[in-house]
């Protein structure tokens, strides 16, 4: 017994090192599995508060740019509104909004990252503003990600620039679907995988969200096809998609809430059983 205690005392630094290293490995592994990073995230009171303060200061330097984006969007929405009779088939995005199934909330991004392989954004709305897990987040130009963590006043968004992210998407022209993933190489491009080889893939075509996930309404813009390759197996295409959104510069976002989400989800789990 004496020897064991002596051993512990002599090697206390090494043992502490082992313990702490295992703890950090554990946290890392936990953060790699979806929805499990419990304690260490930027949506908590402390880091959220600090990011919020700095974002308030930084917002002033960005006002002009944000105004331009808003005017651009207003302009587009107005032209849709006033031309809706003539161009009914060409209404570009968000055409499901006329359906009152989707509720929109605005929020401001207080922290954005795009240089790591697992990127998250933090926004200044949380449970107090009835933001829940698994809501979709978009900007006026395109898709941003999913809510993956909430605290009282802040929420963390799993960016599409995250190797864990998988979002249902499809070609705009036809209904061929695929999964949107990211290979961590460039913040401008994401990859659409598992597209059937029968799909008429062409460079320059538009990619939109598919309605299957029931998180995003069908038809939100994602990007255009930059290049594509046939997989070695020869069955599916891997398509490189250039995002419409500039993920490195995001100010205001919209959070989409699907009122039927729980109903659809419970129905789908019933079928699985």
């Amino acid at each position: 017994m004496q020897q064991i205690i002596n051993f512990v005392i002599r090697n206390k630094t090494f043992l502490l090192f082992l313990l702490l290293f295992c703890v950090s490995l554990g946290l890392t592994i936990q953060s790699h599995s979806y929805h499990k990073s419990k304690f260490i995230n930027s949506a908590n009171f402390l880091s959220g508060g600090i990011y919020n303060t700095t974002s308030n200061i930084r917002a002033y330097f960005n006002l002009k740019k944000q105004n331009e984006v808003l005017i651009e969007e207003n302009n587009r929405l107005k032209s849709i509104l006033f031309n809706s009779d003539q161009f009914e088939n060409e209404v570009p995005t968000i055409d499901s909004t006329t359906d009152i199934n989707f509720e929109f909330t605005t929020a401001t991004v207080i922290k954005n990252s795009y240089s790591a392989s697992k990127n998250y954004l933090t926004i200044d709305k949380g449970q107090n503003d009835s933001i829940d897990l698994d809501l979709g987040v978009i900007t006026s130009k395109g898709i941003v990600g999913l809510i993956d963590k909430t605290s009282n006043n802040y929420a963390r968004v799993l960016s599409i620039l995250n190797t864990k992210s998988r979002i249902n998407a499809q070609l705009k022209e036809t209904d061929h679907i695929g999964s949107l993933t990211w290979n961590a190489k460039s913040p401008e491009f994401v990859q659409l995988i598992d597209v059937s080889k029968f799909a008429p893939v062409q460079i320059g075509d538009t990619i939109i969200t598919g309605g299957q996930s029931s998180i995003f309404p069908k038809g939100i813009l994602i990007g255009s096809i930059d290049s594509f390759t046939l997989d070695p197996s020869g069955d599916t295409y891997t398509v490189s998609v250039k995002l419409f959104n500039d993920m490195t510069n995001i100010g205001h976002v919209y959070i989409i809430k699907n009122k039927d989400y729980n109903e659809i989800k419970s129905l789908q789990t019933q079928i699985d059983e």
Binding site: T13, L16, F21, V23, S24, L27, I40, I50, S117, A184
Partner: protein, 168 residues
């Protein structure tokens, strides 16, 4: 609470804030960021209690993780370089370290450069390996390690030169 302890706490907080509020937003060429916070581990006084040092390094890494949503990536890498610091000190500074009289402001530039480089490269390699967590992306890991290391080493050396107390 003596003077060194207060200095250490101040240094700790300042480095965390500088790292998360300024340096994490640089994103030079898309993904290159300097990680200046390891300066805390590099310059921690040699004579001090080693167990406490390992623990403080862990806290340092964890605070960075808290802000960057990276799980335990920074904590793991920081605690690792804190643990292997003594042999690296011995290797880079030789006899001076043996007598436990080392003061970083009085060491030669060459020695200091070697010491910073070794620890920075090890830290970045572990950090990016944990972050990417995929052995098939080893090229990406090495690429990130190389470029970020150059940036970090430069910034650390400049900071040390700027903030060192002038000999009277």
């Amino acid at each position: 609470m003596n003077r060194t302890a207060i200095n250490t706490i101040f240094e700790f907080l300042a480095l965390v804030l500088v790292q998360v509020l300024i340096l994490n937003n640089i994103n030079f060429l898309g993904y290159i960021n300097p990680y200046l916070y390891i300066l805390f581990i590099l310059l921690y006084p040699v004579k001090n209690n080693r167990t406490l040092f390992v623990f403080l390094s862990f806290l340092m890494g964890l605070s960075i993780d808290l802000f960057t949503d990276s799980g335990g990536v920074h904590a793991g890498a920081s605690v690792f370089i804190a643990f292997i610091r003594p042999p690296i000190l011995k290797f880079s500074f030789g006899m001076v370290y043996e007598y436990q009289t080392i003061k970083f402001s009085q060491t030669e530039f060459g020695n200091r450069f070697v010491y910073f480089s070794i620890l920075t490269v090890i830290h970045h390699f572990i950090m990016f390996s944990l972050e990417v967590f995929n052995i098939s992306n080893i090229i990406l890991i090495l690429q990130k390690t190389l470029f970020s290391s150059i940036f970090t080493i430069l910034l650390c050396l400049i900071t040390v030169i700027l903030f060192s107390k002038k000999p009277r």
